[in-house]
Symmetry: C2
Amino acid sequence: MTESLQGWERRDKPATLHRRFTFDGYRQTRAFLDAVAALSELAGRHPQNISFGTTYANITLEAADAAGFSDSEEHFAAQIGALTESRG
Amino acid sequence: MTESLQGWERRDKPATLHRRFTFDGYRQTRAFLDAVAALSELAGRHPQNISFGTTYANITLEAADAAGFSDSEEHFAAQIGALTESRG
C-alpha cells in the first residue's frame, strides 16, 4: 500500500492521514468533493474532516483503531488520491 | 438584515462571518452541504471556507470589500442559515 499512499502525511495520536489537494478553481474543487462524497457512499466510510475553499481541499482520515490504519482504511485513502491522478 | 443573521459570528480584519452548524449524522451533514453547494451555484458566490466532519459544518464567509459585507453578501449568509430553519 505504501506506493499508493504517496502524498499523504501520517500523524500519530490519534493516527491520522492528511493530504492537501489543490485545484485551478471552485468548479474543479467542487467536482473533486462530489467525487469524494460519491466514493464515501460506495465505500461506506468517509473522511473525519474535509476543509475546503475556492482552490483547495484538506482531507483528514482518522484510524478507527488508535493503533493504526487497517488495510481497508488505507485503501480508502489511496482511492481518494487516485481521483486526482491522470495518466499524464 | 440583522435579524436574519442570527447565529452568525462577525469577525474583523478581514471581515468575516462564521457559523457552526451541527447535525445528527453524516447523512444530514451531507444533505446540508449539498444544499449549500446548490445555493452557491444559484447565488454565483460561495463560502471562502467550509470545514466539515460527521456531524458538523463550520462555514466562513469573507467580505469581498475589507470595509465590510455588502447587502447581497449578508443575504447569502441569511440564505445559508435559512436552509436549517424549520417552522417548528
